[in-house]
Assembly symmetry: C2
Homo-oligomer: 232 residues x 2
């Protein structure tokens, strides 16, 4: 099994034969952690949309709509991008529409993959189990921040790749493995100097970061199916 | 002092205000290690050129010309990209022309910087001393391999950044610092799974890799000045 890591959406075009590969979309702070939480809390699906206006159209049709730009909730939307806003009593059995700065864009970019898997530390082992089961070459696709490389997504790529002792890794993946090994004892501390930590902490959402650093507290995994993210 | 790392030439456009920054060009295997060695061995300058034909024009004028594409010496050139080919008796007091797959391109891309510095493990501490002396914001520019991220250039970026305890780092730099910390005890071993190691080893140049992983065996540093790389 070959594992390659795309550290920024700007490098996405380097993937060859994406239709034969499984793409794990990674936006740890916070889109893919939030999507994983929404599904765990009982939603029937998350509909990722790139454009704010499309999300507004869904809202007019009665959907619960969440959205964030630059880390803040979009005005008029039901929720933002914090996993804590999507409690079970709010999301159970509903389809939730979500648009975010980086993560939902990457899900759309990956839609030609053999399968798109939603990655988060919250369900790390479950993500690994699922891609093992699929038994295809893997792309770990880091959403980053506005096309810049970010630390938390890269460390998650390293965490997934660390689980494959016999895998064939590209250099980006080797870099992430080394970095994860140096940071895994205390992820929250490792992220404290990162740009996104500082961006979110300045908005007072440090608890979101602490939550998104938790490993294996959720035992399910989301995949993209017909434009919607559902449990595998 | 702010340090940012560009992990691939494809991400180079993300640098803002390059004219106010010092760019360290990093192509550990092998262009920037070889350039550092050539200057150490007594050459008066290295003239980096992007196009093979321009190098040929220099050769016709009587210059000693080195060049590599895909890791192999260009036909008709005096030398390739191996540091061992540029012995003191060959290069002393001469201007050497060099064209390589990745490194010389990045030197040209960086030419609008406040200063371009040539980075290698061979003179790591000297590179750090020199950029400290310049006291500007720093860009660690990894040449990679054909626009892909590579491990050895990223680890060198981490090695430089590790020397700045009080620096302000972007996330790419934090990633490289973590990775270097996990690898620094045995760089040669850390690189054994990397794509470039395998590419060069398959051509029988493992000794070049071992040499390029040596730290602080050269006590000088090259900088770009009027299109030529000379000792600072």
């Amino acid at each position: 099994m070959r594992i390659e890591t795309i550290l920024s959406p700007t490098l996405f075009h380097q993937i060859e034969n994406i239709d034969r590969k499984v793409v794990v979309v990674i936006d740890i702070l916070r889109a893919t952690s939030t999507i994983t939480t929404i599904l765990h809390n009982g939603a029937s699906a998350v509909i990722p949309v790139k454009e704010e206006q499309i999300a507004r159209d869904y809202k007019e049709k009665g959907y619960l709509v969440g959205g964030e730009r630059e880390g803040a909730t979009i005005e008029g939307f039901d929720c933002g991008n914090s996993p804590f806003q999507y409690k079970p009593d709010i999301v159970a059995n509903k389809e939730i529409v979500l648009t975010t700065t980086n993560g939902t864009k990457c899900i759309e970019m990956s839609s030609n993959a053999h399968q798109v898997v939603i990655g988060s530390f919250l369900n790390l082992d479950k993500v690994v189990d699922h891609i093992n089961y699929l038994n295809k070459d893997i792309v770990l696709f880091c959403a980053g921040w506005k096309n810049k490389v970010n630390l938390e997504d890269s460390l998650f790529a390293g965490a997934v790749a660390c689980s494959y002792t016999g895998g064939e890794f590209d250099d980006s993946t080797l870099l992430c493995i080394d970095a994860y090994r140096a940071s895994k004892k205390n992820l929250f501390k490792a992220l404290q100097n990162s740009s996104h930590f500082q961006r979110l902490a300045s908005k007072g959402v440090t608890q979101d970061i602490a939550y998104c650093c938790e490993r294996n507290v959720i035992n399910s995994v989301g995949i993209l199916k017909d434009g919607k993210i559902v449990l595998a």
